[in-house]
Amino acid sequence: MTMEQVLFYLMAGIAVGSALYVAATKNLVRSVFMFFVTLMAVAGLFVPCMADFVAITQVVIYVGGILVLIIFAFMLSGRETLANLQQQSKFISISKVPAFLLAGLFFIVLLNIILKGNVNGLVWTEKAVLTSNVITAKDTTIDNIGVNLMGNYLLPFEAISILLMMALVGAAHLSRKERGV
């Protein structure tokens, strides 16, 4: 049981646990903050995959961006949303049973498939290992990412900027006060 594994299981535990808590809790605000924990944990899980840059991005964008947005939304959407969310039933209630069953079954199926489908013995991963096409702890991924973004992934890189622009315009349009009103 190496240090690495310990960390991994810890992170995984936190992630899943907090996620479950998000699912379970009645209180909205609390669930949001638990979600923050989940995101952190996931970011932590990125690290053992040698995706440090991605982990950072995750933290920055998610926590700094999305979560904040969500909280703003809460604030904007006033109190009786919070109010009528208070009287939410417990973790398992009749209204949730189908959802729970579905999710559970989904998980079982997934698990079943994952365990059957020995991903560890994938052809291409082994080939990658042979051709040492594996990211190791030594090499830094950042410049690699940078080069790729400037090269192979230039198109998506440009395209997503347009997407963001459009999203910006649209969101702005939706949320701006109507003229003349």
């Binding site: 498939i113 994952i114 059957k116 489908g117 020995n118 991903v119 994938l122 052809v123 291409w124 991963t125 990658a128 090499d139 830094t140 410049d143 690699n144 080069v147 790729n148 400037m150 090269g151 192979n152 992934y153 230039l154 198109l155 998506p156 440009e158 395209a159 997503i160 347009i162 997407l163 622009m165 459009m166 999203a167 315009v169 649209g170 969101a171 702005a172 349009h173 939706l174 701006r176 109507e178 003229r179 003349g180 009103v181």
Partner: protein, 503 residues
């Protein structure tokens, strides 16, 4: 350390090399920015400018598309941007039609009273539209999981915005909410699928991926594929990803609905085609997942659900929404055909079918707008006796619906006819029972579809109304365009090779 730097030059050359194949999209971007800037600069009364700009832009783009068609037509498929996109003949053709219909839609937007009365102005809508068209262009050419996901998201987000665009309208925003939630969820699922595909296939590039998948565990692979198709299914709205369709189509402003129900279909089908292409390659012995079975079943279910559920709709928009589901199902038959015989007529036939459907569909939505604006007719009862009040519109509606049903002397008929013939040919090869089932189902559902399409002429002409008031005078632009489209439909019904010889 910097072991990738040397390859950078190569990659940049690659990028520059692929730019010539990317000219229409470049123009799109340019005009997108132009519209955006005008919008920002001129603020509140920039609507008409943006409108003109967008229209001009699309015209130019279509022109460029045609150029591209001219000179790519003889070359075989081109991979550009290091395999991000693939430029095929079908893709170009579909791009052209996408742009054409988008152009029509751009005109259409302002002719709908409800939409044009939107008090925040339409200028943002044009921006979004252009961006959406750009997204569709990417979609038609995408050949890499990243570009696939990116383009789908782009189109989806644009669609959310369009649906919810009329913010002050209750239904519009409700539809927006449903759309965004459903869409985001399904895209999340698709992303999960993509992640698995990537994991199992070992490459984002779909050809490499296919090669990899062929060796992976079949069960797992099919699982991943199904998750992936959830996303495409959401775009194509086939069963079981169709639930959002009626509500959103009803809630959104009619022109938006028209846009959603016609234009992205081209792109989405193109995407489906290009995604399936590698698997049909006989070189890799594809066993893991039976696409034919999958799409046959989906197609049958879609046809049945769409047409049968439409059979008792009273609201015209809902009815058309369901019927659009049905048409997707029919188009899937062409996909199955293409899967069975990659060399066969599946794709051009599909294109023709889509064009025919898009023509008739656009006209139908426009007429829905027309009657809604003219006589406030939303559902069947509202249409009573309007045929005599607005004869031209009435007749056009009849012809359009006939085309949607697929009766002769309309484009729709040849759509069905060619699909049948292609399917038959495929059947002769494999004697694939599912294909037969598809054909029979489609025949039956055609009859059913008549049953509900005919309701509109029934109310327009066969029933009399006693109302005399509340008939607005109409702007004839809309009617003119409808008439032109109708004539086109009939012309294609008489001389289909006018179109088919280019496919």
């Amino acid at each position: 350390m910097h072991d990738l730097l040397p390859s950078l030059h190569g990659q940049l050359d690659q990028v520059l090399g692929s730019l010539p194949y990317f000219i229409p999209e470049v123009y799109l971007v340019v005009f997108f920015l132009a519209v955006l800037v005008t919008d920002l600069v001129f603020g509140r009364n920039s609507g008409w400018m943006c409108h003109i700009l967008a229209i001009v832009g699309l015209v130019v783009v279509i022109y460029r598309d045609l150029q591209q068609f001219m000179f790519v037509v003889n070359e075989s498929n081109v991979l550009i941007f290091s395999g991000m996109l693939i430029l095929t003949r079908t893709a170009i053709v579909l791009k052209i039609f996408t742009d054409l219909f988008a152009l029509v839609m751009l005109f259409y937007f302002v002719w709908d009273d409800k939409l044009s009365s939107h008090n925040k102005g339409l200028s943002d809508l044009y921006t979004i539209t252009v961006a959406a068209v750009f997204g569709m262009h990417l979609m038609t050419m995408a050949s890499n999981l990243l570009s696939v996901y990116l383009s789908i998201e782009m189109v989806s987000i644009a669609s959310y915005l369009m649906v919810a665009y009329k913010a002050e309208n209750k239904w519009s925003s409700e539809a927006g909410l449903k759309y965004v939630l459903f869409g985001a969820a399904s895209s999340a699922i698709m992303l999960y699928g993509i992640s698995l595909l990537y994991g199992l296939g070992g490459s984002l590039d779909i050809f490499g991926m296919a090669a990899g998948l062929a060796q992976a565990n079949p069960l797992f692979v099919s699982f991943a594929l199904v998750l992936f198709f959830v996303g495409i299914g959401f775009k194509l709205s086939f069963v079981p990803m169709h639930f959002w369709v009626p509500d959103i189509y009803e809630g959104a402003p009619t022109p938006i609905t028209a846009f959603l129900s016609t234009v992205p279909k081209f792109a989405a089908f193109a995407l489906l085609i290009s995604f399936l292409a590698p698997f049909t390659n006989p070189a890799l012995m594809w066993r893991s997942f039976d696409f034919r079975l999958f799409f046959s079943v989906i197609g049958i279910a879609t046809m049945i659900v769409g047409n049968f559920a439409a059979a008792m709709q009273n609201n015209v928009k809902r009815m058309l929404a369901y019927s659009s589901i049905g048409h997707t199902g029919f188009a899937l038959m062409a996909i199955v055909t293409a899967l069975i015989m990659p060399a066969g007529r599946g794709l051009p036939v599909l294109t023709f079918y889509l064009v025919a459907y898009a023509l008739a569909g656009t006209a139908a939505w426009m007429l829905a707008t027309y009657f809604a604006d003219a006589a406030g007719a939303e559902d069947m009862n509202g249409y009573k006796g309007l045929g005599f009040k607005y004869p031209v519109a009435g007749v056009c509606f009849v012809i359009v619906l006939i085309s949607l049903t697929g009766l002769p002397l309309t484009a729709g008929f040849y759509g069905k006819f060619l699909t049948f013939s292609a399917a038959y040919q495929a059947y002769e090869i494999g004697h694939n029972t599912w294909l037969l089932a598809l054909m029979i189902t489609s025949a039956v559902t055609t009859v059913v579809s008549l049953f509900y399409y005919i309701k509109i002429p029934l109310n327009l002409f066969l029933r009399k109304t006693d109302r005399t008031t509340g008939f607005a005078a109409m702007n004839n632009w809309l009617l003119t365009v409808v008439a032109i489209i109708t004539i086109l439909v009939v012309y294609l019904g008489l001389f289909p090779d006018f179109l088919t010889k280019y496919l």
